[in-house]
């Protein structure tokens, strides 16, 4: 298959997936006992005719299919409704949070990928010796660590214990820089990001690392490596060559990592009170602020699905040998 038909097919698939997720979400939120008016007003606080009027104005008296179509139309036009809790449009609340989430996640995914590539290629190159065996075993430990526990431990040690970093949040309220260092733009944000980022990297690094290692092992047997070595290149340069050729599977994995990063992200945001979408989602589910919870979930799903598409495309561009299947 050629590139364009492939792109077309993937686009259709993406739309179908989005549609399915949106429908699922709509159905899920119908599982709530009662209807939004009882959550919004509290049961029995208003006379029945006022509730009926509200139901009518919200379109809740319409048949289900009508409600579903309305919901789809509202989504498409970017109308995500009103927060029950903040009494403001959902979008207004959500957008800044989305930004905060993406900042932390972008740094975490990038850092984990880079560390993974570096350590993985190093381990893969030392095939078979003791360092490699112990290294691969050690690397598996983070797989078993609950990310929120890593977060709490880091918080206990470096925030409560040593006091090196802030306990949580994203900014110091009314921050006044005092030293030269603190004058640097983004200093306050960076300081707040250190601990959550560290936790995220410990947690996410395993997969890119192991993939890089395996890929390195595969490339190490290739002819070009033998040839490069035969020409007398220093080992460091040979490894560099091999690394560049082994990097591709790690990049593909980044897409998968992003989709599973949201899970870790939600937990980290809660531990470190990071004002992001994950934390917002958890608190809005607890407060029964369903429009916000719904929208937050929707945004996360969109990011996952769209990123998967983008990285698929990127992969096709990066590796021309790929068959579009």
């Amino acid at each position: 298959m050629r590139f364009w038909p492939f792109l077309g097919r993937r686009l259709i698939q993406t739309v179908v997936t989005l549609f399915a997720v949106v429908t699922l979400m709509w159905a899920l939120f119908r599982l709530i006992p009662g209807d939004p008016t009882t959550v919004f007003l509290g049961a029995g606080e208003l006379p029945p005719d006022a509730v009926a009027a509200l139901r009518k104005s919200w379109g809740l008296d319409a048949p289900l299919w009508q409600q579903y179509l309305d919901y789809l139309r509202n989504l498409l036009t970017g109308n995500l409704g009103l927060s029950f809790y903040y009494r403001r449009p959902v979008l207004e609340i959500l957008l800044p949070m989305l930004w905060n989430t993406l900042v932390l996640m972008a740094f975490a995914v990038t850092a984990a990928t880079l560390v993974g590539i570096a350590v993985g290629s190093w381990l893969g190159w030392r095939r078979g010796d003791k360092t490699e065996q112990i290294g691969t075993l050690l690397v598996l430990i983070p797989r078993a660590l609950p990310i929120f526990w890593i977060g709490i431990l880091l918080q206990m040690a470096f925030a409560y214990g040593l006091g090196w970093f802030p306990i949580g949040g994203m900014r110091t309220p009314a921050f006044i820089p005092e030293t030269r260092l603190e004058l640097l733009p983004g200093y306050d944000l960076a300081v707040h990001m250190v601990l959550p980022l560290l936790a995220a990297v410990i947690y996410f690094v395993t997969d890119p690392l192991m993939i890089m290692r395996t890929s390195m092992l595969e490339v190490a047997g290739d002819d070009f490596v033998t040839f490069a070595r035969a020409t007398g290149l220093p080992e460091r340069r040979v490894r560099h060559l091999a690394r560049r050729n082994a990097i591709l599977p790690v990049l593909t994995y980044t897409a998968i990592m992003v989709s599973f990063a949201f899970g870790g992200q939600v937990l980290l945001e809660v531990v470190f009170s990071w004002p992001g979408m994950g934390r917002l989602m958890v608190s809005s589910v607890t407060q029964r602020d369903y429009p916000v919870a719904q929208a937050a979930f929707f945004f996360m799903a969109v990011v996952v699905i769209v990123l998967n598409l983008v990285l698929d495309m990127l992969y096709a561009v990066l590796d021309p040998r790929i068959t579009y299947e």
């Binding site: 929120f148 937990l267 989602m281 996952v304 998967n308």
Partner: protein, 300 residues
């Protein structure tokens, strides 16, 4: 039609491999450690209350009559007490039961659904494969933890709803892996022989193909246990755990919410360590077992 000799090909058996498997898993130090840890938690989960020094929900008082709030480890409370004056050690011991139930039951469903989807998709191919694999793609598009939070909160937090949520989504990886195995297996002579001999589709799938993908599904049972335990811990930590049961995740939630984490390491380290060790034990067993399933991975 000239008579075509029907090749007598036996489906590669797995029976004789069973002992070899046990030997390999037990033969490596990391496999041994994994198995020992697993058995240890098994005992904790089964014996539970009988091993625990106190009732995990009992509130203890100091001789002065005050609640034994966040007491450091002592002779009476080996791992100290929680913010509410409960014994950490007893909670950790009894908490293993939730991990066990959630881990085993969800892992069973993850492997069961995943294997069946993969088997049917891979065997029938074409339309069926297309539909099932697109479905799998859609499930892959759903971020797990956010979905779990929404579903569990809407259905009311309970251990069965947590299991339901985990089983609903995490079969996806198993399905993909099993399908790709079936795709290559179904072209093998023993499958063709069975087809020529007139075996029905169901028979080929469940009598001939299934035993061959079984080792791989078992591997995913092991991974499934680990994913499920971590998922339960995460949900509980976010406050969506089963309110009627003690779990490690809930202990961490309580420690975090009450602020005990500021100074009381004993309220944080034991439950977290248990989650880690339990998950690690399954991973270690799985890793050794993987060497049997996929000998190419074997590092000489």
């Amino acid at each position: 039609m000239s008579s075509v000799p029907i090749p007598v090909v036996e489906a590669p058996g797995v029976d004789h491999a069973r002992w070899a498997t046990t030997r390999i898993v037990l033969g490596s130090p990391s496999g041994m450690v994994g198995l020992a840890l697993f058995v240890f938690f098994c005992v904790l989960a089964v014996a539970g209350e009988r091993l625990a020094p106190y009732d995990p929900m009992a509130i203890h008082y100091l001789p002065s009559g005050k609640v034994a709030q966040v007491e450091a480890p002592s002779r009476a409370f080996w791992l100290g007490t929680t913010h509410y004056g409960r014994d950490v050690l007893s909670q950790v011991i009894v908490g293993s039961r939730v991990a066990f139930i959630v881990g085993i039951v969800s892992a069973f469903f993850i492997a069961f659904i995943g294997t069946n989807v993969g088997l049917v998709a891979g065997y029938y191919g074409r339309r069926v494969d297309d539909v099932l694999m697109r479905l799998t793609d859609i499930v892959f598009g759903i971020p797990f933890l956010p979905f779990a939070v929404v579903l569990v909160a809407l259905l009311r937090p309970s251990i069965w709803n947590i299991i339901l949520t985990i089983s609903c989504l995490l079969w996806r990886t198993t399905a993909r892996v099993i399908r790709s195995q079936v795709l290559s297996l179904r072209e093998r002579p023993f499958v063709r022989a069975a087809r020529v001999a007139g075996a029905s589709d169901l028979r080929i799938m469940y009598v001939h193909l299934l035993p061959n993908v079984m080792p791989m599904s078992l591997l995913y049972v092991a991974f499934g246990v680990a994913w499920a335990v971590l998922a339960e811990a995460s949900l509980s930590f976010l406050g969506f755990g089963d309110p009627r049961m003690v779990s490690w995740g809930q202990m961490l939630y309580a420690a975090y919410i009450s602020g005990s984490i500021r100074h009381a390491w004993w309220s944080v380290v034991p439950p977290g360590l248990c989650i880690t060790l339990f998950t690690a034990s399954v991973f270690l067993i799985g890793r050794e077992y993987e060497r049997v399933v996929n000998p190419r991975l074997d590092r000489g």
